[in-house]
């Protein structure tokens, strides 16, 4: 099982590095979104400092959302998923490596870049650590929560809008607790972090299992 995991992991990672649509697009979208926020803001009403955390979270959400489309699409369309099923390769390995790589190539760059953009937007170093930890818990949840919907909408003619409308309601708790957690960090109360951790633990256990069921149904 571990050998299979590493085989799929190295193949998937290579795919992300070669195929620019898969990884760089989400990151580029995140960067562009962040840059647009200060340009679109009327500073006489709201200061950039006040909305910097929220804007980073919103950009992270949408960057994750657009990259969800490519999670299973290629493998479904070219018949690889069917081939894995026929070859009796456990779908648990495929789903785990896919979501893990998705987080590594879209979540981690956002986690690493977000503190820099926070300084750029707010001009202070105060919330850098708080934002880093909240995104560390939030971005894997984005990948995990989006995974079943990405599997569910495979083969659908209106895939992109369906995927967005189905996924966003499930992202709301993550973004709410994510933004709140940065404030609670200042008061040394970490309740939102515990909550995000709890959702993450539940997600790691159940969401891959649900995705496997959906993928197998979709192949039929």
């Amino acid at each position: 099982m571990i050998r299979l995991f590493f085989l799929f992991f190295s193949r998937e990672s290579k795919g992300y590095l070669i195929n620019t649509n898969k990884s760089w697009f989400a990151l580029a979208f995140f960067l562009l979104c962040i840059l647009i926020f200060p340009l679109a803001l009327d500073k006489s009403y709201v200061s950039l400092d006040e909305i910097s955390i929220s804007s980073i979270w919103i950009c992270a959400l949408f960057a994750n959302l657009i990259s969800l489309d490519s999670l299973f699409k290629e493998d479904f369309e070219n018949g690889s998923l069917l081939q894995y099923h026929v070859s009796n390769i456990p779908f648990s390995i495929i789903v785990t490596t896919k979501v893990f790589c998705h987080w590594i190539f879209t979540g981690i760059p956002i986690i690493l870049l977000a503190p820099l953009f926070l300084i750029f937007l707010s001009g202070s170093y105060e919330d850098v650590l708080a934002l880093f930890f909240s995104l560390l818990l939030g971005t894997p949840l984005f990948s995990l929560l989006g995974m079943p919907f990405s599997a569910m909408t495979l083969g659908s003619s209106a895939r992109a809008p369906t995927l967005i409308f189905l996924t966003i309601p499930f992202y709301l708790p993550v973004i709410i607790f994510g933004v709140l957690s940065v404030n609670s960090f200042k008061n040394s109360s970490f309740s939102e972090y515990y909550l995000l951790s709890a959702i993450l633990c539940i997600g790691i256990i159940f969401l891959p299992y649900i995705t496997i069921k959906i993928l197998k149904e979709n192949l039929k």
Binding site: R3, N78, G79, L82, Q83, S87
Partner: protein, 198 residues
């Protein structure tokens, strides 16, 4: 089930999206045997192969020799190839996945893949992609090959190579279930059954 049978199918029926695709199909596949599945477009030939490969649910009875279970050998309409991957990466990936310990160079040389080893699969022609599918099939060590239109759209040379490969597989005690619109001539194969799906 008789000991020498690779596969025994008894009165299987399949429904897909609440529509009956085929019903009451029975056949037996012996080592070295070939089952040709005939039928018009949309008659359920591919669905029958997918049923036998365990993807689609069915009613009826399919008996597969225990040691052949969980070793799928399927070549379908979709090539299951990652366009961005190179031929070399693809072959090594499936070699490791299938834990193939046979002559790997023989597989590369058989289809003359040496000169395209570093080419991304997206740049290959239809025929070359089909060769990769059959290279993967050889590595899966499957006794039962499920082939959906294996030679359609191929040039004469590639067609001969693939038919020779199937013949070798049959000679080594394997079996094949093939759907095809064109008549396929397999040399030396005596045990050929044709079934029609309507």
């Amino acid at each position: 089930m008789r000991k020498e049978l690779l596969l025994e199918v008894q009165r299987i029926s399949c429904e897909r999206n609440y529509k009956l695709i085929f019903e009451n199909i029975s056949f037996k596949l012996e080592p070295g045997g070939v089952i040709f599945i005939n039928g018009e477009n949309g008659s359920g030939k591919t669905s029958l192969l997918l049923t036998l490969s365990g993807v689609l649910s069915f009613s009826g009875d399919v008996k597969i020799k225990e040691k052949n279970k969980n070793k799928g050998g399927y070549v379908g309409h979709k090539n299951a190839l990652n366009e961005a991957e190179t031929v070399k990466d693809f072959l090594y990936f499936w070699k490791r996945i299938s834990d193939f310990k046979g002559d790997f160079n023989y597989i590369i040389n058989y289809f003359d893949l040496k000169k395209i080893l570093n080419t991304p699969i997206g740049f290959l022609s239809f025929g070359q992609k089909k060769k990769l599918c059959f290279s993967r099939l050889q590595m899966t060590k499957s006794k039962i090959w499920l082939l959906d239109e294996p030679v359609s759209g191929l040039d004469k040379k590639t067609k001969i190579l693939i038919l020779k490969l199937i013949t070798n597989h049959l000679e080594s005690g394997g079996g094949a279930i093939i759907t095809s619109h064109q008549p396929i001539k397999l040399n030396k194969s005596k045990n050929i059954t044709s079934i029609r799906v309507d």
